[in-house]
């Protein structure tokens, strides 16, 4: 599973990365988590607001920091 956390590095983006890492650890699954800060890369996904989370190519959330429960639901 490949997870992209999109965001330039603002507090909500950092919080999103931590939430995703916590959720992956709690779920006990193997996932490649990558932080994407480049806006050109982010825009390629049709994302125009951050933070955003992309799991295996599918955008799950844009413009808000998800809860751990949100992420755990996406990992199922």
């Amino acid at each position: 599973m490949k997870i992209l956390v999109m965001g330039p590095g603002c507090p909500k983006c950092e919080q999103t990365e931590k939430t995703v890492r916590d959720a992956v650890a709690e779920a006990g699954i193997a996932a490649d988590i990558e932080k994407v800060k480049d806006f050109q890369e982010i825009a390629k996904y049709g994302i125009f607001s951050t933070p955003a989370v992309v799991i295996d190519g599918e955008v799950k959330v844009v413009g808000r920091a998800p809860s751990k429960k949100d992420v755990l639901d996406w990992l199922k």
Binding site: G7, P8, C10, P11, K12, C13, F39, Y45, G46, I47, F48, S49, T50, P51, A52, V54, E58, V59, K60, V61, V62, G63, R64, A65
Partner: protein, 124 residues
């Protein structure tokens, strides 16, 4: 100021155009592009909504405001957004602005008329 677009800043405003084949579709398209160029809102891809492209759908969900422009009474832009589950967006139909299909070429005057309506819709 950085080009940060995080949610700590204002969410984007999106304008969608039917961009249909008729003259009024061209007027709607050109007006949306002009509004986008001027910076009042960002023109976004209606085809991405129809195709359920996840980034475009989720970005639209996160938008502060959405305006849809339809050239004719078929209202394809409005129906596309509704089909994807969007409600509460502003809708502009060129027919209601007096621009009739087949009689309204993409002149600067017609484009300006629609641009004014779009700007007004965003100010509501």
């Amino acid at each position: 100021m950085s080009n940060c677009a995080c949610s700590c800043q204002a969410a984007p405003k999106f304008v969608f155009s039917c961009s249909g084949a008729a003259d009024v579709g061209e007027v709607a398209d050109q007006a949306a592009r002009a509004v986008s160029r001027e910076g009042a809102a960002k023109m976004f891809c209606l085809a991405g909504i129809g195709g359920k492209v996840s980034g475009i759908v989720k970005s639209t969900e996160a938008a502060e405001k959405v305006v849809a422009i339809d050239g004719c009474p078929l209202n394809c832009a409005r129906k596309t957004l509704e089909e994807a589950g969007f409600t509460g967006f502003e809708h502009i139909q060129l027919d209601a602005l007096g621009l009739k299909k087949g009689e309204s070429p993409a002149t600067p005057e017609n484009i300006q008329t629609v641009m004014r309506a779009v700007t007004e819709a965003f100010s509501k």
